[in-house]
């Protein structure tokens, strides 16, 4: 195994390298080894842009549709930087430096954290991928090198580099075998980590967040074994890092410190990306907000082709503010699944300052694309999830909103328009809404369960007059006075959403604020809000969650899917209909009812047909019996006597006989359903006569002998006459009992949400919080689905599967035997 041996040798070299460090410090101009404090990172980020622009003046064409273009960018930068900085270090050594250098408490902590967060994913991914490789590397020279390097015996950091190494080396060895020897020879440089190193060097340690992005993603690609990406990065790294370069570097003492400095950031970034929770939120927000494009061309040029100047028309990325000329915009932005964003910015929240321009199309796009395409882009731009206002940016009554609250706020009947991030106050009783410290700006729907309780100083008033516990501003006081409200003695008012007001602690309403025509005029003069026209009805609408339209992206998230599976007659359709009747306000539309009615009627004809068939059988049996009796009694077989005795209890008159024969014939030919909707009127009286006929009644009494007759048949047959009338309206109970109302084949689904919990039910807060949750009951008809379950993967996202087995089937094995099989398969999801 020659490659391994060489790598072994290299590692040995590295150790000496690592140990070497304790010698003389820097001769090199470095972004010095400031211990990185987490809090300082975002601050430094602002400065980063400057260093970016003057450092990276080399125009490098970047392939834009790469899955991870950022890492590629880094690699490019690396190329440019590699020559002058020549700070190429294997991560293991660097970490060792780090430890030597700092040996401070915080450094150790950082490493500890990073180890804890990173290692599980990468190691697991690696194990899945190639155990043999891992076994070799981990147990082999790597572990030994680690042991040597970390003479302090800090195992945690060793773990980290071990992982970094192993995942990287796996990537190499699995993808391009011809490359792996030289790469291993090159001291097993982790390409990803290095990118960030050199990048960092140019930036200082500031843009840690950016680096962490790239790092995380490149680590991810390691884990996912995304081969293409590896190939791309590898191709760069392989000629960038010949082993000679590494060895030459070892000579340069002065670089040591820079190396350790450089690499420390990745250690930090590991941590802050993997453990976002541990970090303060502020930082992560900053990190995501500060997505800046890398300007490489001259100012004002296109960010992709570096042509043009500031006067050429350009489209702007709504996340990172990158500008592209008309030639490049489609390439740079791809298919714009979230609107006008660079391909690399997809998934990131937008720049809040550009919120106003969402969905507003530029002339350039209109020129490039046709109407339909532009409309699609603008629609997704407005509606896609990543572009929605982050709820934590909005504070209502000094409390940041949650997702649900924001939805409530935005979907209420009278929402605050053009909501921007900021702090607001909201008077739940009257619906007044305004910016914190300012007078009210709007009256929105009242009684929304949003934010905390209102504070007295919410609008920063100083008038000593209170409305609903808020000290009002001078302007409002003026309005009250002008509209004739007695405000002497610093009263505390209680204003309702309909404008009626009363003094606190008193029951009688003092008057209506909006009663006078003048009030609104005064409000308009003082630029105070007046209630909108719809505000009267909003009380009811606010509570009616079911009918509220919810944006698409939310529907995906809050939908809980329940899969209902069972064979014919196992009750799935009954459960389904129950759900429909219980949770839908209008369970069945008029059209559906009409269909159901026809279905029920043709079903009843079907039952009748079965009865008639039974009647014939019974009649025949009876006749045979009679004949037997006859033959025993009268020996001569003359036809005359037989004719008279044909009359049995099961016989019917000739007219009914003709009808029943016809009915049976149509049933046999299978076109009962096509004839019957039209024929109902014609035959209704006949059916009545037939049903009242003693022969049918006699047959009906023996219905248990008719196997074909379903159990629900008696429910309808007993009411056959009413059912078969043309003006028959099926009741919910009828529908529930009816067979075949839900489509027998395939699938039906109904969406419902549990109505707002009844006040007496002791439901805890968690349940009420879920009031936005919707459920989708999907009924699958097992028979129509076939045995092969090719459709199974479609239901990977269902939360619950309900199997139905008919109790009455317990002795009918032919129906049952498919079920356990099916069940097993479903479980295999």
């Amino acid at each position: 195994m020659p490659p391994f041996e060489t790598s072994d040798a290299d590692y040995v070299a590295e150790f000496s390298f690592a140990v070497e460090y304790s010698g003389p410090p820097v001769t090199y101009n470095l972004p010095c080894a400031v211990p990185i404090k987490v809090e300082r990172i975002p601050v430094a980020a602002a400065a980063a842009q400057v260093s970016l622009s003057d450092k990276l003046s080399l125009p490098v064409v970047q392939p834009l549709l790469a899955p991870d273009p950022r890492s590629k960018k880094f690699s490019k930068e690396l190329k440019t930087l590699g020559s002058d900085s020549s700070t190429l270090v294997s991560p293991t050594t660097v970490i060792a430096f780090d430890r030597n250098n700092e040996s401070g408490r915080d450094c150790k902590e950082l490493e500890l954290v990073s180890e804890a967060t990173v290692s599980p994913t990468s190691v697991i991914a690696f194990e899945e991928g190639n155990t043999s490789n891992r076994g070799y590397f981990r147990s082999g020279e790597l572990s030994s090198s680690r042991a040597l390097e970390f003479s302090n015996g800090h195992y945690a950091s060793g773990e980290l580099c071990d992982i970094a190494n192993s995942s990287r080396e796996f990537g190499f060895s699995s993808i391009s075998h011809e490359h792996s020897p030289e790469l291993l020879g090159g001291a097993g440089i982790s390409s990803t980590i290095e990118f960030s190193d050199s990048f960092d060097k140019s930036l200082g340690s500031s843009l840690a967040s950016r680096v962490s992005c790239s790092q995380k993603e490149s680590l991810d690609t390691n884990n996912d074994l995304s081969q293409a990406d590896w190939v791309s990065t590898e191709s760069v790294s392989s000629f960038d890092y010949p082993s000679s370069q590494v060895s030459s570097m070892k000579i340069v003492d002065g670089n040591n410190e820079s190396k350790c400095d450089l690499i420390r950031t990745p250690v930090v970034t590991f941590r802050d990306f993997e453990s976002v929770d541990a970090f303060d939120e502020e930082y992560t927000q900053d990190a995501s907000e500060k997505r800046m494009p890398q300007v490489k061309g001259k100012k004002g040029s296109c960010y992709r082709c570096f042509m043009g100047n500031r006067f050429t028309e350009k489209e702007v990325c709504i996340v990172c503010d990158a500008k592209y000329c008309s030639n490049c915009v489609l390439r740079a932005m791809g298919s714009m699944p979230e609107g006008r964003k660079c391909v690399t910015c997809i998934g990131f929240p937008i720049d809040e300052s550009k919120r106003g321009s969402l969905g507003k199309c530029s002339r350039m796009l209109k020129r490039l694309l046709n109407d339909l395409e532009v409309r699609q882009i603008m629609r997704t731009e407005k509606l896609c999830e990543a572009n929605q206002l982050p709820p934590e940016y909005i504070c209502v009554n000094a409390q940041p909103l949650s997702h649900e609250e924001l939805i409530i706020l935005q979907t209420c009947s009278n929402p605050p328009e053009k909501l921007k991030p900021g702090k607001y106050w909201y008077d739940k009783v009257s619906g007044l809404w305004g910016k914190e410290g300012q007078k009210p700006s709007k009256i929105i729907s009242p009684h929304l369960n949003v934010g905390g309780p209102i504070k007295p100083d919410a609008s920063n008033g100083n008038t000593q007059v209170f409305i609903n516990g808020r000290e009002i501003t001078k302007v409002e006081l003026r309005m009250l006075q002008l509209s004739g409200v007695q405000c002497a003695g610093n009263p505390h008012f209680w204003v309702h959403d309909d404008g009626s007001y009363q003094e606190e602690g008193q029951k009688n309403t003092r008057g209506y604020l909006w009663g006078k025509a003048g009030t609104k005029l005064v409000c308009a003069l003082l630029s105070l809000p007046v209630p909108s026209k719809f505000s009267n009805s909003c009380g009811e609408q606010g509570s009616n969650i079911v009918n509220r339209t919810v944006p698409d992206y939310l529907q995906q998230r809050i939908l809980q899917k329940l899969l209902l599976i069972g064979y014919n007659g196992s009750g799935t359709s009954t459960i389904f209909k129950q759900a429909k009747i219980l949770y839908n306000e209008v369970p069945f539309s008029a059209e559906e009812r009409e269909n159901i009615k026809l279905k029920i009627q043709s079903n009843v004809y079907g039952y009748l047909g079965i009865l008639l068939e039974g009647r014939e059988i019974f009649e025949e049996e009876e006749l045979i019996e009679l004949k037997k009796k006859h033959s025993s009694r009268i020996i001569d077989p003359s036809g005359n006597t037989g004719n008279n005795d044909d009359k049995t209890i099961y016989s019917v008159g000739p007219r009914l006989k003709a009808f029943s024969d016809w009915l049976l014939k149509t049933m046999v030919s299978g076109n009962l359903e096509t004839i019957f909707p039209a024929g109902t009127r014609e035959y209704a009286p006949l059916v009545e006569e037939l049903w009242n006929d003693p022969a049918i009644q006699a047959t009906y009494n023996r219905r248990s002998e008719l196997e074909m007759l379903p159990t629900v048949a008696s429910y309808f047959l007993e009411r056959a006459i009413t059912v078969l009338r043309t003006d028959y309206e099926p009741s919910n109970l009828d529908i529930l009992n009816a067979e075949g109302v839900t489509s027998l084949n395939g699938l039906a689904c109904v969406d419902f949400s549990f109505p707002q919990s009844a006040p007496d039910a002791d439901i805890d807060a968690a349940d009420q919080h879920d009031s936005l949750l919707r459920y989708q009951l999907i009924r699958l008809h097992a028979r129509g689905m076939g045995e092969n379950c090719k459709w199974l993967e479609m239901f990977e996202d269902v939360g619950m599967v309900i199997f139905c087995v008919a109790l009455s089937d317990y002795d009918q094995f032919s129906v049952d035997d498919g079920l356990p099989f099916d069940t097993k398969q479903i479980r295999s999801i």
Binding site: L65, A66, P67, D224, S226, Q227, A228, V231, S232, L330, G334, S335, M336, P337, V343, I346, L368, L369, N370, L372, E373, R375, Q376, I377, R379, T380, Q556, S743, L744, N745, G746, L747, A748, C749, L780, G784, M785, G786, E787, N788, K790, W791, E793, M794
Partner: protein, 377 residues
Amino acid sequence: MSVAELKERHVAAMETVNSLRERLKQKRLSLLDTDVAGYARLQGRTPVSFGPTDLVCCRTLQGHTGKVYSLDWTPEKNRIVSASQDGRLIVWNALTSQKTHTIKLPCAWVMTCAFSPTGQSVACGGLDSVCSIFNLNSPMDKDVDLPVSRMLSGHKGYVSSCQYVPDEDTHLITSSGDHTCILWDITTGLRTSVFGGEFQSGHTADVLSVSINGSNSRMFVSGSCDATARLWDTRVASRAVRTFHGHEGDVNTVRFFPDGNRFGTGSDDGTCRLFDIRTGHQLQVYYQQHGDNDVPHVTSIVFSISGRLLFAGYSNGDCYVWDTLLAKVVLNLGSLQNSHEARISCLGLSADGSALCTGSSDTNLKIWAFGGHRRVI
């Protein structure tokens, strides 16, 4: 004739059929002296070779939020319709990689979609057992959703595949989980003929795929879970013209060879096969040996316009390009730069053969085409 007697005769008949089938198989084997690859090798053919830029991913169509299940190109313009687990059909402009229509489906469980020959309408089908037709020119309602212009209902199982009859916007063939294929008249919304079913000699399991012969639109093949492919004549619905045995697993996909005399199949047994519809012979098996026991299923296949290349998507995420003559894998799209991150579920070739579109479980579609500069001779 009593029931017992009937049963006896049935068993006997079944035995005869099976023995005859076995004899047929033997005879075929004895007659089949070579396969395509063997012959091509004898003729000294060499496999097609691919340069690094001969097939590159040049567009990524992002926009679905669920797995992409199916896609289809328009015959004349560069548009693609794709169906996804998120319950949407998206019509793409392949040149600009932009969406032109997003259609939210009434039933989210869609399995297949197809573009009409004129590009005016799209059809889709899924677990609701209905094939829905959307007219792209019809005005959108307020939600920018297209209304269903026609529902073709009549299947008793899920609609697994649909394809328009070439050059006719009014006829469509669907295959279904109810073991049948149906030829529809779209203008009336009624079934013209039903292929297979209870009393006919049709498939004995779910039909998963259909492909209509490009040069003779009266013939089509269907592939089914009964491990067979069947050739049908639309004028003779009662019985299949020919049944092609050979696969050892569900036939997931069938696709006619461009010349119309052959067709390819892809199956759960990990093989693709090439059959000749005139002789009924199996011409070639395309199978790549894998080390482990896990044989990846073939999810979708498509032939290049010349027929020399066969693109086959596998459930493990590979997408091999086979040289149909020599039965050699000449390229694996799954290992190229910018390839999909998950399994490739559907493939489609543009009408002029210049581009290949792949749809994947990673919610993206990618368009592959020649990416370099053409050599000047």
